[in-house]
């Protein structure tokens, strides 16, 4: 099945060390997305970068510090994203959220639900 629609994309940037109520921030945000039924959410770990704090984030093999830059990318319709943003406002203390309007094509195999 192929559906086409206009959607919003959020890209949230923060550090891997950032936490929300004891949990890693990216896991907390993904859990919230799941709870709200957001269509697509994916977390990427960068190898080096810096953000609003201007301190270089880098994941190193030589130390246990894992403060790598994290980018979370979330895609859904305008309404769904509107449901999520108040939660993000509450959770993210330091970070950057970039939004853009995107055209989406979704391919799905409706019959095979719950396989895997």
């Amino acid at each position: 099945m192929k559906e086409e629609f206009t959607a919003r994309m959020l890209r949230i940037h923060f550090g891997e060390d950032d936490r929300w109520q004891g949990k890693p921030m990216h896991e907390a945000i993904i859990a919230k997305c799941k709870e709200l039924g957001i269509a697509e959410a994916i977390v990427f770990r960068g190898i080096e970068g810096y953000g609003s704090g201007t301190r270089i984030r880098r994941s190193s093999h030589w130390s246990f510090s894992k403060d790598a830059p994290i980018q979370l990318s979330i895609i859904d319709t305008e309404e769904q994203i509107a449901k999520l943003t108040p939660h993000l406002d509450a959770m993210i203390e330091e970070g950057l959220v970039a939004t853009s309007t995107v055209e989406v094509i979704r391919y799905s195999r409706a019959a095979e639900k719950g396989s895997e």
């Binding site: 192929k2 959607a7 994309m9 990216h26 896991e27 993904i30 799941k34 269509a39 697509e40 959410a41 994916i42 977390v43 990427f44 770990r45 990318s73 895609i75 970039a98 853009s100 309007t101 995107v102 055209e103 989406v104 094509i105 979704r106 391919y107 799905s108 195999r109 095979e112 895997e116």
Partner: protein, 249 residues
């Protein structure tokens, strides 16, 4: 710079064991020629030979000989050769130096990137589209991972560039929660492909995506691109399919 026409070919015959200030003589000589700006020089090692002393030098397994014959050759203009010959004779010591008239049919060309080193890159700005495809690492197309098949198909269709990202956590259209856990070997991680090209080229590629992607999400966004391309690199066959674009979105 060597020009086509008359030149001199100089050959120096040495023994491998010869040293100069503690380094092999041939390497000293090569350095000398290099810093004197000689157009090019080649050192070859013989497998057997004899010299003025009439000792046979050969490579035997039983006695590892360090006295194999060495030959250094270079071609230069007569003026240049005469200017360095004195020092060369001194350096060569007991070795033989031979000179012969030769004709340069075609001089070697200095590889192009050397000349425009500083302002070499080209900045191209313009409107383009970014196509992101979200799928699972375990999705397959025929006998290979789907993301790899897509990259190959994109390259075959001359899309400007594509990069594959592996997510550390995520879920989507058909994927359950994919978590990158180092203790569990999972091949079910989230994958995102990001390709940038003009809207027309991406749309022209879409029928292939339709065929290849059974489940997944394709996302289009408008981007302003700033592309830095090395003019000199354009002449060389590009080896890497990796994208060189940086998107402004």
């Amino acid at each position: 710079m060597l020009q086509p026409g008359k030149a001199v070919k100089v050959t120096i015959y040495l023994s491998d064991g010869a040293t100069h200030h503690g380094v092999p003589l041939y390497s000293s000589l090569l350095d000398f020629l290099f810093y004197r700006g000689v157009a090019g020089a080649t050192v070859t090692k013989g497998i057997a030979g004899f010299g003025a002393d009439h000792h046979m030098h050969a490579a035997h397994l039983v006695e590892i000989s360090d006295k194999l014959p060495i030959k250094i050759e270079f071609i230069e203009t007569r003026e240049k050769v005469e200017a360095i010959l004195g020092k060369l004779e001194e350096l060569a010591g007991t070795g033989l130096i031979e000179m012969q008239e030769t004709t340069v049919a075609k001089p070697a060309q200095v590889s192009k990137p050397k000349q425009p080193t500083i302002p070499a890159h080209l900045k191209i700005e313009g409107k383009a589209q970014m196509m992101r495809i979200y799928l699972s690492e375990e999705d397959r197309w025929k006998d290979k991972p789907l993301y790899r098949a897509l990259v190959e198909a994109m390259r075959a269709n001359d899309l400007a560039g594509v990069t594959v990202y592996r997510g550390i956590l995520g879920y989507g259209a058909h994927r359950r929660m994919n978590k990158d856990n180092p203790l569990v070997s999972t091949h079910n991680r989230s994958i995102m492909l990001s390709a940038i090209d003009t809207a027309e080229k991406l749309r022209a590629f879409l029928p292939l995506v339709d065929q290849m992607v059974a489940e997944g999400l394709v996302v289009f966004s408008d981007v302003d691109i700033i592309k830095f391309a090395y003019r000199a690199l354009d002449a060389e066959p590009s080896r890497a399919p990796a994208s060189s674009e940086s998107s402004g979105d």
